[in-house]
Every structure is written in structure tokens, then in C-alpha cells.
């Protein structure tokens, strides 16, 4: 226990250096900004800013990117409450009661509880990472390659659970991603694979080009399809500090949301969006008077907002301790770490203590910054909504192009972005989500490596995956998850949740 505190102290020393504080703040501000602006999600933004982190140290880079992710959870609630437009999918349920509260003239109360709930949840979630991270990493270090392979399978299955729509198609997208991940040099023989004879592809498909095309640019193109929505905010927001009465009413909801979010963030197939939906459902279930929900119940804001932020923090646990991303955002973090030459996995905590403890400490600082950014300065963010998309998208495409180009100073990467943007747009039209593809792409090389190594140790016997208890357990969990989402009852609920 004292150990954790000593290490945390070290983390604070890392995070509190002026440069890391600065990038933590930049991340928090960027996150709030994109959280407020509808039509620009954390996945797109992090992919946009990936090249910019190239010049930074890995610690500053990951601190900033993490700040964007949890910052977006704060910002997303602002527009959900004030104008009934959730800036992020994680704030969809917040809009239900949050907007009602705003209409009743309780906007400041809703905004305050969202920020304070998020802050409490963020801090508790961070403590959970600090406590859970080291033992989990130690456990994962005992894993042999078959166990790793099965762990990756579990990670990929979680991508299916997260995907909206048909599970079969999500699995197909994973395989497409895995296949794309194979492009480039074979690790064992150095032979070029599926490079179409292009030298530029010998290092594999450029990660930044892939994510920017699939998520960033494809999103811009779909946003340009229809007329943009003009958002007019007529709400007057006074000083934003909640009354004690309001705080007392929401106290339980904040803690329940935090607990739920912490759990969902760690579990494969969880994530911030599902956490917020579940928290809303839970609040409705435990409430004495259910009719208040939908009519401005403060618990309906406090629960989901705490849950999404807790999940945003704890979803770093599987990434930093086991090397498996549990969502598209975390897959981006894998890419960011890999760009800096760090392999995500159980060795991070022991080999890169600065990174792990620095990130954790920065989350405390970042959450504190976000309360300040969001509460007294809320007027500025709301005014930003007035920036028309017709100006915004021009800036986005230019930053995108320079960003992709600057990674390798190569025009080829820009052309590759064009290709992936087209693919991303087509996939959207075909109701196939690109997130599972990204997970497959990121995990592809590790999956292959561990698969090959396992079969070499077992002399070609595939039963090795079932003979090792850890591997067997992981595969059973994966199978159970897959079967459960294929079951008609669960399927129906999934559809409902995504359509709500």
C-alpha cells in the first residue's frame, strides 16, 4: 500500500513538470472542445492529433491523448444539457433529464452535478487503476504465448460486443482488420507480404493514415451530407455552483454511477457508452418515484455522467496491464504508444514507470483542471457552438492532410488516407462499423506472433489453446460473450440500447 503511494508520488513528480502539465491542459481543453462540438468525436479527434504527438515525449503524448478522451466526457454533457444535443454518444442519456432540468431553469444545477460527478468518478476510477494495475500486470506477465493469443481473442470479441448492428458483420470487420494488419514485412523471415510491390508499404499500412481516413475524414464527409444544424442557445446560465440540497440528492447516484462505470471500463466489451446507458437504467430502477425520470431527475444526470467518466479512466486498465484495447479509443492509444516505440502490455508498469504513474497522476490533475475549465468558463464553450461547420471542416481537412503528411513526410500516406476515407465512407453506408476493423488491425501482428509461437512450442498441436488453464478460461469467456450477444433476447436489448 505504501508502495503505491510512493509510486504515485513519483507519478505526480512526472505529471507536474511544466511540459506535462501543459499538455495535460491542452488535452483537457481539446477534449472539452470536441465534447461540446457535435459531429466530432474523441476517436476522430485523437486520430487527428496523433501526428502532433509525434514530436512529444511518449509520456506527454499519452497524457495529452488521455486528457482528450476523458475531457470529452465532460464536454459532451454540456451540449446535452443546454441544447439537447449530446456532443458524444456517452452523453446521450444525459440529455433526457439534463435538458428537462435546463428547461425548468435548473441548467446550472445539472451542469454542476455533471462536472462534480465526473470529477469524483474520475478520481475514484484513477485510484482503481493505481491499485489494480500492478497486480494485474504481474499476473499477465505469467502468460505464455497461447494465453496471450486467447487474451487477444477476448479483446477482439469485446470489439464485437461494442459494435452497433450485426455481430456477424462486426466479426467480418475484425478479420478485415487483421488481414490489413498483415501487410508489410513478415516478422520472422523479413519477406514483404501483400505490399503490391510498393516500398512504402514494407513497414505496413500507416496507422495514422488508416485511422484518419476511416474515422476522421469519413466522418467529415458524412457530416457534409445534409444541411448543418444551427444551434441557438437561449438558455441563460448564471453562476454555476450547486445548492447543497441538490448535491445531497445526487450523492448516491454519483457513487452508483462511479461503481458501475469503473466496472464497465475494465470489462472487455464494456466502455463508456454502455456504462452511461446502464447507469441511467440503474438509477431508474432504484428510484422510489420512477416518474421523475424524463422530467428532470438530477440522478438521471449524475449517474450516467459519473459512469462515463469512471469508465473512460478505467478502460486504461486492460490496455496498460495486458496490452488489450477494449474500445476504438483504446486501440488508438495502442497506436500512439507503438508510434513511440512502446509495446503496450504487462511490461509497461515495470519498464516505463514514468509513463504509467505519470499518466495516473495526470488524470487526477486533468480532472481537477476540467472542473475549472467546465464550470466557471462554460459560457465560452457554449459560444463555440456558434462556429459554423462550413468553416470548421475546412480547418479539419487541412490539419488532417498536414498531419498525415508529417508522420513520414510522404505524399504516399496522404493518398493512402484518401483510400481509407473512401473505404470508411462506404463502410458507413453499408452499416458496417469501422471500430472492429481498427481493433483487428492493431492487434493483428501480436495475434499472429503469439499464434505462431504457440504452435511452435506445441509442435503443431492446436489443442494447446485448450490445454493451458488460463488460455482455456479466456477462450471460454470469449465464447460465452459471443454466444450471449447472438442470443435473441440479448440481441433485442442491444438494438434497444443502441437506438435509444
Amino acid at each position: 500500500m505504501t508502495d503505491v503511494f510512493a509510486l504515485l508520488g513519483h507519478g505526480f513528480a512526472v505529471a507536474a513538470t511544466p511540459i506535462n502539465l501543459f499538455f495535460c491542459l491542452v488535452g483537457a481543453i481539446c477534449g472539452t472542445l470536441i465534447g461540446v462540438l457535435p459531429g466530432l468525436g474523441p476517436v476522430a479527434t485523437i486520430s487527428l492529433l496523433l501526428p502532433a504527438t509525434y514530436a512529444l515525449s511518449p509520456v506527454s503524448a499519452i497524457i495529452m491523448l488521455a486528457g482528450i478522451y476523458y475531457g470529452a466526457q465532460y464536454g459532451g454533457s454540456t451540449t446535452a444539457i443546454l441544447v439537447n444535443i449530446p456532443g458524444e454518444s456517452t452523453s446521450v442519456v444525459t440529455a433526457i433529464d439534463g435538458y428537462k432540468m435546463a428547461q425548468q431553469g435548473r441548467a446550472s444545477e445539472a451542469l454542476a452535478i455533471a462536472a462534480i460527478g465526473s470529477f469524483i468518478a474520475g478520481c475514484i476510477g484513477t485510484v482503481v487503476i493505481a491499485l489494480l494495475g500492478p497486480p494485474l500486470a504481474l499476473m499477465t506477465q505469467q502468460f505464455a504465448s497461447p494465453d496471450y493469443f486467447s487474451l487477444m481473442v477476448l479483446g477482439l470479441v469485446s470489439a464485437v460486443v461494442l459494435a452497433n448492428g450485426s455481430a456477424f458483420r462486426a466479426i467480418a470487420m475484425i478479420f478485415l482488420g487483421l488481414l490489413l494488419g498483415m501487410v508489410g514485412m513478415d516478422l520472422n523471415t523479413g519477406e514483404a507480404r501483400m505490399t503490391f510491390g510498393l516500398v512504402e508499404l514494407s513497414d505496413g499500412i500507416n496507422f495514422v493514415a488508416l485511422v484518419m481516413g476511416l474515422f476522421g475524414v469519413a466522418e467529415v464527409i458524412s457530416n457534409l451530407e445534409g444541411a448543418s444544424v444551427r444551434i441557438v442557445n437561449k438558455m441563460r446560465i448564471g453562476t454555476i455552483w450547486p445548492s447543497f440540497r441538490a448535491l445531497r440528492g445526487a450523492w448516491g447516484a454519483v457513487l452508483r454511477g462511479t461503481a458501475l462505470g469503473t466496472l464497465f471500463g475494465i470489462l472487455p466489451g464494456g466502455g463508456a457508452t454502455i456504462a452511461s446507458f446502464s447507469a441511467y437504467a440503474l438509477e431508474k430502477r432504484v428510484a422510489r418515484d420512477r416518474s421523475r425520470f424524463g422530467n428532470g431527475a438530477i440522478e438521471g444526470v449524475a449517474g450516467p455522467e459519473s459512469a462515463n467518466n469512471a469508465a473512460a479512466q478505467t478502460s486504461f486498465v486492460p490496455l496498460l496491464t495486458m496490452g488489450i484495447p477494449t474500445s476504438a479509443t483504446m486501440a488508438l492509444m495502442v497506436g500512439a504508444l507503438t508510434l513511440h516505440g512502446i509495446a503496450p502490455g504487462p511490461m509497461i508498469i515495470s519498464r516505463q514507470p514514468d509513463l504509467f504513474w505519470g499518466l495516473i497522476a495526470s488524470m487526477f490533475l486533468g480532472n481537477a483542471m476540467l472542473v475549472i475549465i467546465n464550470l466557471p468558463m462554460i459560457g465560452i464553450w457554449v459560444r463555440l457552438l456558434a462556429v459554423p461547420y462550413r468553416l470548421l471542416y475546412l480547418a479539419i481537412v487541412v490539419i488532417c492532410a498536414i498531419g498525415v503528411y508529417s508522420v513520414n513526410n510522404s505524399s504516399f500516406d496522404v493518398y493512402m488516407t484518401v483510400g481509407f476515407s473512401a473505404l470508411g465512407y462506404i463502410l458507413r453506408k453499408l452499416d458496417a462499423e469501422p471500430a472492429p476493423l481498427l481493433m483487428g488491425f492493431v492487434l493483428g501482428p501480436t495475434v499472429e506472433e503469439n499464434f505462431r509461437r504457440s504452435l511452435i512450442t506445441s509442435h503443431g498441436d492446436p489443442m494447446i489453446f485448450l490445454q493451458r488453464p488460463i488460455s482455456l478460461a479466456l477462450l471460454l469467456v470469449s465464447a460465452a460473450l459471443l454466444i450471449s450477444i447472438m442470443m435473441p433476447a440479448v440481441r433485442q436489448r442491444r438494438v434497444e440500447v443502441f437506438q435509444e
Binding site: A52, F168, R169, A172, F175, L176, L178, L179, M182, D186, N188, T189, E191, R193, M194, T195, F196, V217, V220, I221, S222, L224, E225, A227, P388, Y389, R390, L391, Y393, L394, A395, V397, V398, C400, A401, I402, Y405, S406, N409, S411, F412, V414, Y415, T417, V418, S421, A422, Y425, L427, R428, K429, L430, D431, A432, E448, R452, L455, I456, H459, G460
Partner: protein, 150 residues
């Protein structure tokens, strides 16, 4: 929308087709790699397996789409699609030949036509501001090795 015409014209069919196409191209290139055996896997072993699974899943989807009704594909908006993709291509072509500033101006000029709501005066100002800001941030501060002008 319940007419049989929906058969063969739904998301299942086309995503299946897309997967089959990708898998086929991949298989053509995997052909030249040595596959090896389970004991001694070559560079082609894993990709071959993946491509075959993808081919199988693609065929299943396509056949399902042919014989069952599915959800219709979303309508394509060619104007934003083509303009945005072209704007990136122009940037890629021009950045090394004509310098960053011209590349950005060209990109903004083409991207301008992606939306019906843009006004040329605003786009012009944004283009100039973006070019100036990029020159300062990316070339002077971040020192990306790229020429500003031809």
C-alpha cells in the same frame, strides 16, 4: 419498401461483395508467399487463413443478401465525397512540388465545393489564415521538412 427488389440490393449483399473482393486481391498476393506447414509456418500461413475466412464470411453475407431481404444501403452523397477526396489528393500532389502554402490553398479551394453552405469569401479568408497558421506552427515551430513555396 418490402418489395422483392430489395433482394440483392441491401447492405448484406454489398458488404459481402466488398469482403470477397478484398479477400480475392489478398489471395492473389498471398499466392507468391510460402505457406509452410503447421510445424513450420511460412509468412503466408496466417494471412492465407485470414483471407480464406474473410472470403467465406463475404460469400455468406453476399448469398444471404441475395436471398433474404435486408436493410437498404445508405444513399451516397457524391459531392462531399469526391470534393473531399480530391482535396486531399491535390494536397498530396502539390505539397512536395509547389510547397505547403499552395497545397493548402488548393485543398481549401477544392474542399470549399464539398458543402453547399460555404461562402467563397469566408473560405478564402479561412484558406489564407490556415496557410499562415500552418506555416508558423508546422514549419517554423515543429520544423517539418517541407518547403513553403515552390
Amino acid at each position: 419498401m418490402r418489395s422483392p427488389a430489395r433482394r440483392g440490393h441491401n447492405t448484406d449483399f454489398y458488404s459481402g461483395l466488398l469482403l470477397v473482393a478484398v479477400a480475392t486481391v489478398a489471395l492473389l498476393y498471398i499466392r507468391t508467399l510460402s505457406v509452410g506447414t503447421v510445424l513450420e509456418m511460412g509468412p503466408g500461413y496466417f494471412p492465407l487463413g485470414l483471407a480464406l475466412v474473410l472470403l467465406g464470411m463475404g460469400l455468406c453475407l453476399a448469398i444471404k443478401g441475395l436471398f433474404a431481404e435486408g436493410s437498404p444501403i445508405g444513399s451516397f452523397h457524391l459531392r462531399p465525397l469526391i470534393c473531399i477526396l480530391l482535396s486531399f489528393t491535390a494536397f498530396g500532389v502539390l505539397v512536395e512540388r509547389a510547397g505547403l502554402i499552395i497545397a493548402i490553398l488548393a485543398q481549401v479551394a477544392i474542399a470549399h465545393f464539398a458543402s453547399v453552405e460555404t461562402r467563397w469569401r469566408q473560405s478564402l479568408v479561412s484558406g489564407v489564415l490556415l496557410a499562415a497558421a500552418s506555416a508558423v506552427i508546422f514549419v517554423w515551430l515543429l520544423k517539418i521538412p517541407v518547403d513553403l513555396l515552390p
